[in-house]
Symmetry: C2
Subunit: 316 residues, 2 copies
């Protein structure tokens, strides 16, 4: 029922804010025809300003063949903006009543084969789609700010979403140059924001207790975990750092450290089941790669990142 995601050429992006404008820039850079729906023509200047700023970075990253700002159309009429849409990225205001009304209208205007992805960071699709007459094709497609640069898109459906629409969205975002994360469940904050929020709350606790300043927090992150986390997420970072023993060694040896007061967040019980999920998960990602090869690859990537940062900082 849904079209081949490779066949999509026309995207409609709803919203004039940094997220809507960022998505518009991203899809244009990947060679799509994009119609941007703005609520009011007075938003045009601010919208174009974000778009033009994003275009500088997108050009440096490399545009897709045929990509052009000339392939943008702007409309303040929703029916008009959706008329030729083959995919819709919705980045409207983060208020449930507004989104519900918007999905009620979009659900009536758009053919049911057109998938709608929502950029919401704080709402659940099961709530957003409540008044939509055709909710099967509505999914969460949550980007990370700035959406024209960061590859992540978290994808999950609501109660009424068809599994086929969720799978389709995953394929489409990947074709469109994003890194899709297919979520297992609808949970508040999705995955990335939950991780970031845990870190953020610990940071606020430290500042509240006079243990660190905001500057300290940032020095720690930028010079410690971040350059490695670009290359390896926290799971594979621990897996590879523990040598041949991998995540099993990490959990069996450092498991007791989970009881230490190293953060205000209490750890879950390290059951056999959790241990095995972590170990099996890391082994699957590693596949046949030897830990020394993964460590060498990590080091090459960190070197590239540190040299790139140095270059970007000297340019200014």
């Amino acid at each position: 029922m849904y079209p081949n995601p490779e066949s999509i050429t026309r995207v409609t992006s709803i919203g004039a804010g940094p997220i809507g404008a960022g998505w518009t820039a991203h899809f244009l850079a990947r060679g799509y025809d994009v119609t941007a729906y703005l609520h009011d023509a007075s938003e045009t200047d601010a919208f174009m300003s974000i778009l033009n700023t994003a275009w500088i970075s997108l050009t440096d990253l490399g545009l897709s063949p045929g990509a052009s700002l000339d392939r943008l159309q702007i409309s303040t009429d929703l029916e008009d903006a959706l008329a030729v849409a083959e995919f819709v990225q919705e980045s409207g205001p983060e208020r449930l009543v507004i989104k519900q009304a918007l999905y009620a209208r979009m659900g009536a205007i758009l053919p049911p084969s057109v998938v709608i992805g929502s950029s919401t960071s704080g709402l659940m699709m099961s709530d957003i789609q409540a008044d939509c007459p055709t909710p099967e094709r509505t999914v969460i497609g949550h980007p990370f700010n700035p959406p024209y640069l960061l590859p992540l898109v978290e994808i999950v459906g609501g109660k009424k979403t068809a599994p086929e629409a969720v799978a389709w969205a995953g394929e489409f975002y990947k074709i469109a140059g994003k890194a899709p994360l297919m979520m297992k469940k609808e949970i508040p904050g999705f995955v990335a924001t939950r991780l970031q929020e845990a870190l953020w709350r610990e940071a606020l606790h430290m500042v509240a207790n006079g243990e660190a300043t905001p500057e300290d927090i940032d020095i720690a992150l930028m010079n410690g975990p971040a350059p490695r986390m670009v290359s390896q997420g926290q799971c594979m970072a621990f897996h590879v750092a523990c040598g041949a023993g991998g995540m099993a060694t990490n959990l069996d040896q450092f498991g007791p450290a989970l009881k230490l007061p190293w953060t205000r967040l209490e750890a879950p019980e390290l059951t056999k089941e959790l241990r095995d999920r972590m170990v099996d998960g890391c082994n699957e990602v590693a596949g046949s790669r030897h830990f020394e090869d993964m460590a060498a690859q990590r080091d090459r990537e960190i070197v590239g990142v540190l040299n790139a940062l140095k270059a970007a900082r000297q340019e200014t």
Copy 2:
């Protein structure tokens, strides 16, 4: 009493593991004469293997003038290893009794003007220095793994440490090419590990609950927060993302979100004092820079990082 940190040319590195060998590689790459103390000669091969691997990356990052592996000496005699030391980086086993005995010996052997930095990640200097006859010059100098690549060093003294020794260590590590974080208090896990641990525990909760796999966690981190966090820590990322209003807008507008169940870690009460500390701290870091300039700089850096990662991944 302590020498000019610029005058230091001879460093002794204690420990044959990944941290001790990593520190040895770092100091050699920055042009120091380094004596490595190994507990046993049988550790030499593994030690040299780590060193040689690290040297590849350090060469790619750029060696300091005169830096050479030829300036390494290895000793299994502690008195001999410390004989010409002007600074000592201790990366011995993470067991308190072993460290206490080591500091008792080092404290008797070394002139009291030689600062000793400990790589410990889990112990407090107030405990480590308990049996040291000259504890004033003992400080924590905690690196992040891999220590030859990641710039962070967290610095804090114990109860008996002289404030001058802590300040000296901060200056010395900076001269030696590291990014020192001068901690305000001795707290378990220091700053970076606490932040990482909060994130890690939330990740374990998600895996335990079937909300995400280890692969999902890593996809989220590598493609979402990490490429930005290399350029801006979490505080300045929020400050700049909120435009002219900065952190004040973030906290005043999104403060209520701290009550949402977006992670298992409960947030601190957002008091006026905490709000002001966050806002003032971010404004201090920003200085006279306009948020648009900081956003543009962030984007340039993320572009550089993403292009560097792409290049490092295509090489293989």
